[in-house]
Amino acid sequence: MNDFVGTGALVRLALRRDRILIPIWIVVFVMTAAGSAKATMDLYADPKALVDAARTSNASPALVSLYGRIFDESSLGEVSLFKLTAFGALLVGLLGGMLVVRHTRSEEESGRLELLSAGVLGRYAALASALIVSGATVIVLGLLTALSLMGSGLDTKGSFAFGLMWAAAGLSFAGVAAVTSQVTESARAANGLTAVVLGVAYVLRAIGDSSADGSTQWVSWLSPIGWSQQVRAYAGDRLAVLLVPLVFLAVLIAAATALIRRRDLGAGLVRPRPGPPRAAKSLRSPLALAWRLHRGSLLAWGFAFLLLGLLVGNIASNVDGFVTSDSAKEMVQKLGGVEGITDAFLATEMGMVGLLASAFGIQAALRLRSEETALRAEPLLATGVSRAQWLASHVLMALLGTGVLILVAGLGSGISSGASLGNMGRQVPRMLAASAVQLPAIWLVTALVVILFGLAPKLVTGGWALYGVFLLIGQFGEIFNLPQWMINLSPYGHTPRLPGGDFSVAPVLWLTAIAAALIVAGFASFRRRDIG
């Protein structure tokens, strides 16, 4: 038991530190679930309308790959919440994983854990306390979600199945983060690895769900997010499936503790190798340094975006496999034939890829602040580097990086959809254009971080909050019946839907101009403020 001494104290410390963060996350999830249920129930008061909506959704490859299948087309609860099943599980997983990294590797990297470890603290205390905090958070989140769904008028068993499958996703990724935190030396890398696993899990379930003939449905079972879907809340409530993530968590905890036994405090599993004693000739400008700092993450993201693009293009070529029933065929004709529906699918997916690329832009721009607070900006700004040059180096990485990512995804989707549809020459330029039009909105969101950095550096992480708001507006704005002016606040809503949709220049120019103005204002305000 000595290995766990001090766990309780660390739990209290973590709860004290996160006393605002955790409740906010919980409230956001609970409100989103309850609000979404309520809004959809009002929308489909008529059972026939409900079934029609469910059929349309199941016939749309875009929706199925994005959100998953609706197992019971007549279930009010499932149709109301299917957009939050896999997607919500992804976000709860992100929360569960992030909390574990925050209280293990981040603490270790900063040296704070060393301070505590010199006191009476067991070897596993940090991990145990992080898992307790993270696990309790997602379980409370799940239970409150269940209660709020019951409050919205959905049935009890289904509501608990829904809340618990969210919690299960959180637990799975808390386990994943417990392992990644042992493997890497930096919290950034541990979070990155967890995010990669999340991304892979989401894609695996997309492959399983999109299987038109059912031959690859088993792939979903390789994914923790797939397990959450397979609980089938409001459509059978298979609570036994929840055992799978629990076993998964137990295995990961065993792995993490085995790793802890093998390593020193502060070290990762991978021993850092010595590097070059001299800098490369090219490392002689702030831009060269920024490239050096961002290139690792850009390469990883780029690889992921290429795969994502290839996958999206590949699913697009199977779209007609979804169209089996006569009513669906009729609907497809109305939507502009198979090409129309393929294009609609690709346009939706490109929008999602644009959202993902924005996360890179925000993260890259936030590097400015972390460099400043880690006191790494100061020595640079005490050389011949001007503030504008230094700021420009990271802003360029964010802007060009997102450009590269989105074009790589466009290229990948163009190649794979073109190859299977047999019109590569046409599809590649179309998809490149479809990806390029996402850029102005991505840049605008990145620019918001830049101006926050200049004007109110302490609030700079508010960039993520704005991003979250835009995401919610885009996903749920119409369901919630938000007024049009609010829906218009999200830059993503103004992006032309390509391929297939109408292209108008005006919104693209406007978005770009606003982004440029924000960046210029960010530069101007950064030149006037104190560093540090």
Partner: protein
């Protein structure tokens, strides 16, 4: 004589705390200037204003003849800075950081770089995140000392170094003095400042309270004298500048204002000196004299 740094009446506050409260500082070109004060006195804030990282609320600041806020980048090519807290990029090696910082300042003396690496016993192939605090500081020191610049601004550069490395650092600064480079050395280590600096400014609560050569400042302090005399001492108590006089038979103990030392010695030798111990004033005493108000008062004094 020109001045590398002239600061007059500098104010800087963060919210309700006044970090700098009318600070004056002058560093003459070619001197090693000690900037002495306890933690939180405003040393680093002053240095950050000098580097144009912070903007003073009021007062004039001139650095190498320019305005550090407006001409920051231009002036920075002529100086090198070692921060008190050195943080390196986790995935860059020490050698890479030295080269990068040197190049961004406009050049590095290659021979000196190698020599300094050897003298400071620094492995340039290790990654930033694997260096200890002292080694991170060495990286910044090597980058600064190997740069071809007129002015070195060093903010508590030895706080993480072991005594051996501190000695190497002192030698390096001695060499810089011989090359007529200007050095502003902030420190709270008195012996270091005493050993290295031509002139010293003592800062307290955002103000410079004393400035001058060590000899100037010694004038302000007392030499302690213990003497055994041939005859009984007389007339000592009437002399100006004598304190804490303690006479027991032919033995005398006292503290003497250094400026008045001559008269006291005459008086003593008039009685015939058999043995004499004179303790020169230390910077420590001077320092403590200025800060005794800041040291928490004794409980009984607090009641009064």
């Amino acid at each position: 004589m020109t001045s590398a740094i002239v600061v007059s009446g500098l104010h800087k506050s963060y919210g309700s705390t006044h970090a700098l409260d009318g600070l004056d500082l002058e560093v003459t070109t070619g001197e090693v200037h000690g900037f002495l004060g306890p933690n939180g006195a405003g040393k680093s804030t002053t240095i950050r204003v000098l580097l144009g990282l912070l903007r003073g609320d009021a007062g004039d600041v001139s650095l190498l003849g320019g305005d550090p806020w407006h001409d920051a980048a231009k002036l920075h090519r002529r100086l090198a800075y070692v921060p008190g807290d050195v943080n390196l990029w986790p995935n860059l090696t020490g050698g890479e950081v030295i080269d990068l910082l040197g190049r961004l300042r406009g050049g590095l003396d290659e021979k000196k770089r190698d020599e300094l690496l050897r003298r400071f016993d620094l492995d340039p192939t290790k990654k930033g995140r694997t260096y200890s605090k002292g080694n991170r500081q060495k990286v910044a020191l090597v980058a600064a000392l190997a740069s071809d610049v007129e002015l070195l601004i060093l903010d508590e550069p030895t706080s993480g170094l072991d005594p051996l490395m501190e000695e190497v650092f002192r030698q390096c600064i001695e060499e810089e003095r011989q090359r007529d480079r200007t050095v502003l050395l902030s420190s709270h280590i008195l012996s270091e400042v005493e050993a290295l600096c031509d002139r010293i400014s003592i800062i307290r609560r955002g103000k410079v309270v004393e400035t001058g050569t060590l000899a100037d400042l010694r004038h302000l302090t007392r030499t302690s004298i213990q003497a055994e005399l041939a005859g009984s001492p007389n007339g000592l108590a009437e002399l100006p500048g004598i304190h804490d006089l303690d006479v027991q038979g032919n033995r005398v103990r006292c503290e003497v204002d250094t400026a008045k030392l001559d008269a006291v010695m005459r008086q003593l030798s008039a009685s015939g000196i058999k043995s004499l111990v004179a303790q020169p004033p230390t910077l420590e005493e001077l320092f403590l004299r200025h800060y005794e108000d800041d040291v928490p008062a004794e409980p009984e004094a607090a009641v009064r």
